[in-house]
Amino acid sequence: MVNFQAKLIDSLFDSQIKQKPTRDGFGEGLVLAGEYNERVVALCADLTDSVRMKMFKERFPERFIEVGIAEQNMAAVASGLAASGKIPFIASYATFSPGRNWEQIRTTICYNNQPVKIAGAHAGVSVGPDGATHQALEDIALMRVLPNMIVVVPCDSLEAQKATLAAIEISKPVYLRFGREKTPLFTTEETPFKIGRAEIFWESETSVAKEKTIAIIGCGPLLYYCLKAAFELEKEGRGVIVVNNHTIKPLDEKTILEVAAKVKGVVTVEEHQIIGGLGSAISELLSEKYPLPMKFIGMKDCFGESGEPNELLEKYQMTTKDIKKAVYQLFGS
């Protein structure tokens, strides 16, 4: 059942559940960050409305810089601003930033160790009709492979707001990943959030044996479908632990290993290539410290395409049904 400590909303599986894009949470969080700390500045590459930076721009015009469609410049300018004591946020679609400006992020932000916050919007296939060139599926891998970079993938709009605010307290580069579509809003203000700490959102009764329990470790809006899968699996008599692993780097090794000790196998869930993302990070940890059978939900080394978000998630096998299927496979049934 739902972990009470997670303080998720009541009526978690209400068909009329409130939906809000994670990018909205970023936009709101950025304004709050600006109000909280006058050193916060923001840069955008001609996408202020879409990446929700417009509110910050209107609230703090003297702290906003429009660089035009120039993501490489945007990253390095942010580095210079950070060197001068500012806390810069840069935002564009995640395919372009990081992506086009990966080397500038590597050198001017990570190697220079400047605390720039990189907001990658329009992540995942659920970006929809724009098609593959605008659906970022590699950004988690690109960012986590860089020393000094912290990688956070919030599960809903409220968590996105919290993550944006929390990022300014860390004097290191941070990558934040957001989606385009409205996704379920299922956490509350009281839901614990700390960068670097994984949260248990669902745990079956402890009397359920290890052999009958699987862990589902997810990040981002797909986490909601992990919870849905857990709900259905529990009704079928299976034990499930669902972990909200929003911080891919640094991984909360303690929590993950504690969970691993209680389960027969692990399914990871992300709207990202299986290669190099959350699944890889978890398997790097477990294979060394607690080897367990694993299954990975994510893009299977191919590009997305145009379509409606739900159609694409269906086609590329990242739905509740697919998560359950992976769990059944781990149970050997």
Binding site: Q72, V77, G80, S84, P88, T107, Y111
Partner: protein, 303 residues
Amino acid sequence: MAKTNKKKKNNINISSPYPYKNPKIQALDDLCCKIRQEIIEMLLEAKSGHSAGPLGVVEQYVALYFGNILKYNPKEPNWPERDRVVLSNGHYAPAFYAVLAHAGYFPLSELKTLRKLGSRLEGHPHREKLPGLETSSGPLGSGLSQAIGMAIAAKMDKAQYQVYCLTSDGEQDEGNVWEAVMLAAKLKLDNLTMIMDRNNIQIDGYTEEVMPLEPLKEKYEAFNWHVLEVDGHNIEAIIDAINHAKAIYEKPVLIICHTIPGKGVDFMEWKYEWHGIPPNKEQAELALKQLRTLEGRIHSEAE
């Protein structure tokens, strides 16, 4: 009268045709010669690194750090009111390090540790290792962007410091540079000055053969920058240009410094092959001999 005759007699093969009247500038010219020797020594000891560019650029860095222009304090590298100097073309490290050492950021004796494991003098500068560096550089094309970030911060904070970006001509091939050039002009960053070493070489050959840059001045002017051009080996002219830049309103300034790559060493001058290799023992000996001879001439002329 006698002095003029002496000048004429010694006028052949002299690489520094500027017997400066001003003793202070003459002293800087002398320092340039010393630094060229130190560059050769550093590269010989390191057994790798870039020769031609660093040798040619010396007057620019000396003018900036010792021409009574730059606001800085080597005892307080992070002094908030300091002028910022961003080295964009990081491979010019040997020259930059030598100037920083003379400026007092670290001991001259440390120069010979260039590129060695454990040294603070990385092959391409790393700001976390050595005081006096605002950025880490090497990849080319993002120095101006970082300098712009600093210039914007200064404007936001109504701070008075100037921002200098040191760059080279080959670097202009990078698209990132032009993104930055556009932004600097858009934001009217008149507290930003770019000093470009125009030595006409890059790795694969002469710039005008690899990727022609001319008309370079007009390109920058078309992008709404103010452009000055100087003889890159004339310290006085460089100092004048940098001071002139401070008076330009609402436009960033580019100072194109025309230089001879490999300046001071006759078998390196104008040879792009010397872009990225160090001299061996025999070559270094020959180079040092030429530079010491030049130093001797500068001394005798000053008498």
